[in-house]
Symmetry: C3
Subunit: 139 residues, 3 copies
């Protein structure tokens, strides 16, 4: 069994920007020579998430529009009042979507669906440089 | 340390159908002779999720009724307009609920709560045959 | 590769009480002498979740206020009618937020963001004693 942990810095636009990480994860899996196991994708931070989605332009617009209704930016939040921030909505969205994802692989191939991509979502209200952890475990 | 990866095909009714996978996961754990570790349950696909819930008829009705309010089927979505689809709501629900779950086990027993079941939820708008990945890691 | 599984009992106030588990996880990591790998935090139970958040008083108030709007306690739920319970909202919240979280570590340090904490959220409508599983895997 081997464990390989790599870090990448990803430029985002913030504002519920959705970024496809699938190619990056496949590239790290190929370099690792690990054939069977799972990959943990984790985002250190309180205003971003990792999940899967079909990465296409329609859903990239639908997701922010949905969240503008459910967890809007402009509402009164105690977090913003306490800290002079404007990103309480981003904190709450991150907690709901979560910051860790595990994807199994076999014979060196991620077991994703045909249209399913691994994505980082940055909910913060400004562009960010985001660290993403990719940890491969297997044999 | 051993890693065992198995695939199952599950028939669903779609439309936020909730399917209990607990028996299947226990059966694979029993067959594996792995005693301590964790199991990753993953659904390849963009319109389904894996989570835990108390699997009982009341909540099986409450969950679709809740989601009909929060992420309704009939709203205008860019995804549906672009692709001529009618399942944008299913994509968005899948991203929120997530597609991976990890459950620890010890002495050959899943460490679930008494009423807690591992479930697949199929959000798509039609019946599907769903592949589910069960990956056991441990010793 | 080693796997260490520990259980802790946590007192909660229920009602979407947010409890910081980060110190507990760090303490178990320090005791384990495992340096590289990941920790699975899992809550057995149907009315609680594990996620990450910036643990500060503002967000501890914002989260219950948000959920009172999205998944309110007082609505008609089939679960409550069937079982004479009053916690269907807690079940539904738990399924959305999820019950498992994986955090990578390296050189004996959790790879969390600066303000990011690992938290248990208890959605039940009364104080509870909650079991939490911390499982470390690595070398």
């Amino acid at each position: 069994m081997k464990i390989i942990t790599v870090k990448h810095i990803i430029d985002t636009c913030g504002n519920t920007d959705v970024i496809d990480l699938t190619g990056l994860v496949i590239s790290e899996l190929d370099k690792s020579y690990i054939k069977n196991g799972s990959v943990l994708i984790f985002v250190p931070g309180c205003t971003a998430s990792v999940t899967t989605i079909e990465y296409e332009p329609g859903l990239k617009r639908d997701l922010p529009e949905l969240l503008a209704k459910l967890i809007p930016e402009g509402r009164h939040y105690h977090h913003n009042k306490t800290w002079g921030d404007n990103n309480a909505h981003a904190h709450l969205r991150s907690s709901v979507f979560g910051t860790s994802l595990n994807v199994p692989f076999e014979n060196g191939e991620l077991l994703l669906g045909t249209w399913q991509q691994i994505v980082l979502i940055d909910f913060d209200e400004r562009p960010r440089k985001r660290k993403v952890i990719i940890q491969l475990t297997g044999e």
